[in-house]
Amino acid sequence: MSLKSIAPGIVLALLAVAAPAMASDYQLLFLLQLLMMIALAQSWNLISGMTGYVSLGHTAFFGVGAYAGALLLQWGFPWWLAIFKGAGIALLVAAPLGVLTLRLRGPYFAIAMLGLNEIGRLVATLWVDLTQGGDGIPLSPARLPTLLQNYYTMLTLAVLATSLIAWVRYNRLGLELRAIREDEEAAEMVGVNTTRNKVIAFALSAVIPGAAGAVYAFYTSYIDPVSVFAPALNIQMIVMVLLGGSGTVWGPVIGAVLVRTLHELTWAQFPALHLALLGVLIVAIVLFLPKGILSLAPWRRRVRPDRAPGSP
């Protein structure tokens, strides 16, 4: 990787670091949500964009992290530790699950993940003594981190997620993952340990949503099963990744910026319209731009998968 290829990322990150000095609290919250979507979209990108295994239940990890974070904060853990543990618990859920479900191929994996999210939602709803059931958990403001702390944590997560994608993509693991996406049997034949690679990608892709879920709980100050185990959030991740460019480093970032900005522009004036727009966008991408916006960029034509490992 050359300096030139990571320069835009550094500039963006520096801008985001400086943003609180210029932005109002509301603008900061907008950016915070944008960063959260970047982190989530990148996580989805890691498993689904890279390997082609479509996860319809990545919000399960988000929800697990949110509940873990909220409960730990209530039990007296400092907020940053609650975030770490939220991520850790998401990882603990994902690893064994990956071993089991990633043997499923095609639509079966997608359905299994959808089921996982539903199970998470049901557990959070029915385990009333722990989670307070359907009314959710309000968090005491005295323990909550400040908006600025939440913002920088989410920024860190977005940067980590993007760096992780960049690192994996220009690494042997990334090449092998894309080999799995193109033809899993052929990849296996040439010696790629497909199950191990898939499980690693899956486990890594669960950590960031786990941490992001905890931060979500902190900046919202309240969670309930429906708002964190939300299939609509998962759909947003997918749209952002597909819009920008699946399996790429910058695609999900571009997708997230566009979708959130579009949302911000239309939602206040036309509440119902932005949902319709999102629908139209999905259809349009699938029909006319299956490889995302980045596939339009002329300088990308020379980047071919077979040149990826160790390419300058």
């Binding site: 919250l29 359907g134 009314d135 403001p141 919202t220 100050s221 708002s227 910058w250 522009l265 960029a297």
Partner: protein, 392 residues
């Protein structure tokens, strides 16, 4: 370098758009709120918004607040707590509104009120009844809805008045019914009624046979349910099947809804329930509001609409009392205020929880539901006792 420009442009657009909120800086008074226009509470959200808007029109016709014109600033919170929290940040710091009204649903209110508390901005909660909201020690959330814990108070007082003793309590295992049940226990104790049976059931239960047989053996005078529509309907149907009799049957949510009677037919006759508000309430301003609302929007207002209108009236009363828009003065006024709006009485306790507004009691009489308690607002007399099953 092209790539840098491309990405920077995207990011810049994001920031620019986020800052595009338009602060209105005329002399008008801006009342800020978030409304559920999309998402799961969209229907009730729209009704609530109608109520707000009707109040804004009325107050402007009356000359505004302290002579200044009132404008409503609202955004769609998508029925989501995180959007709600973001919007109240926007209303307070971006739009710099003068007064705040809370969102619909306990969930969004829990998130939004944390933001209001952070800015020490008093907020009238016009759509939440969870007691959790007022258990957090906040100083800026003022409730309008009757809290679930006081729902059954009127009915238990009636039981006491009629010389009844034995109360059987059943309730679903979620927060709202649990709140109702906690209230029943406390009130029964206060009134000297004996709680002979208490059992919790899963929210989705519709088979109450075993429970009913146990209750029947205890011969209660009153059967009270912390319940929703499906469970209260099923319970009454099976109560008739097993000939469980009590002088009063009352349920928190089911009988207050229009479907209860048609679903049960003759079985519904005499069953009592609770309601936040009814257009037939015998209170000043209720009939005018209901008529005006129906003319304007073409349907009879539900309690969400009335709550929206009432929230505006409470703000109006507080501003009149303090003759200012100062937040500290308003907070003190909202704690002291004792007024009656088209939604009912407003009088909160030291935490801001609503205590003045009673749980209105309705009863199914002759195939339709009528407000029967408290007597001061009742449109019809209570039918008592519950008619025995063999005489129907």
């Amino acid at each position: 370098m092209k790539r840098i420009h491309f990405l920077l442009a995207g990011f810049g657009v994001g920031i620019a758009l986020a800052s595009a909120g338009v602060p209105a800086q005329t002399k008008e008074i801006v009342v800020g709120t978030s409304v559920a226009l999309t998402g799961k509470y969209a229907r009730t959200g729209q009704e609530q918004l109608n109520g707000f808007q009707l109040w804004v029109e009325d107050v402007n016709r009356r000359g505004g607040l302290l002579g200044r014109k009132v404008r409503l600033a609202y955004y769609d919170d998508e029925s989501k707590p995180d959007t709600g929290a973001k919007l109240y940040e926007k209303l307070i710091t971006g739009d710099k509104v003068d007064l705040l009204i809370g969102p619909y649903s306990s969930g969004v209110t829990l998130a939004a009120s944390t933001v209001a508390e952070k800015h020490r901005f008093p907020i009238i909660s016009a759509g939440a009844s969870s007691s959790k909201i007022w258990a957090r020690g906040y100083k800026n959330v003022f409730g309008l809805y009757t809290p679930a814990t006081t729902y059954m108070d009127q009915i238990l007082a009636l039981a006491k008045e009629k010389g009844l003793k034995r109360v059987a309590l059943i309730h679903a295992d979620t927060a709202f019914p649990r709140d109702v049940a906690r209230g029943v226990e406390a009130s029964a104790k206060r009134l000297g009624l004996e709680l002979v049976f208490k059992e919790e059931y899963g929210k989705a239960s519709t088979d109450f046979a075993a429970m009913i047989l146990k209750i029947k053996a205890l011969k209660p005078d009153v059967v009270v349910g912390g319940s929703y529509l499906p469970d209260s309907t099923a319970f009454m149907r099976q109560a008739r099947e097993y000939q469980l009799y009590a002088k009063i049957f009352a349920f928190a949510v089911g009988p207050g809804l229009p479907d209860f009677g048609p679903n049960l037919g003759a079985i519904a006759e005499g069953v009592m329930g609770n309601s936040q508000w009814e257009p037939t309430l015998n209170l000043p301003g209720v009939k005018t509001f209901a008529k005006q609302y129906e003319q304007r929007y073409g349907h009879v207002p539900g309690y969400h609409a009335a709550g929206g209108y009432g929230a505006g009236q409470v703000l109006e009363a507080a501003v009149k009392m303090t003759r200012s828009f100062d937040r500290d003065k308003l907070r003190r006024a909202l704690l002291k205020l004792d007024t009656t709006t088209a939604f009912g009485r407003y009088k909160v306790d030291a935490t801001g929880m609503q205590l003045g507004k009673p749980g209105y009691t309705v009863q199914w009489i002759g195939g339709s539901r009528h407000v029967i308690l408290p007597p001061s607002v009742a449109a019809r007399k209570t039918t008592y006792p519950f008619k025995p099953w063999d005489k129907r």
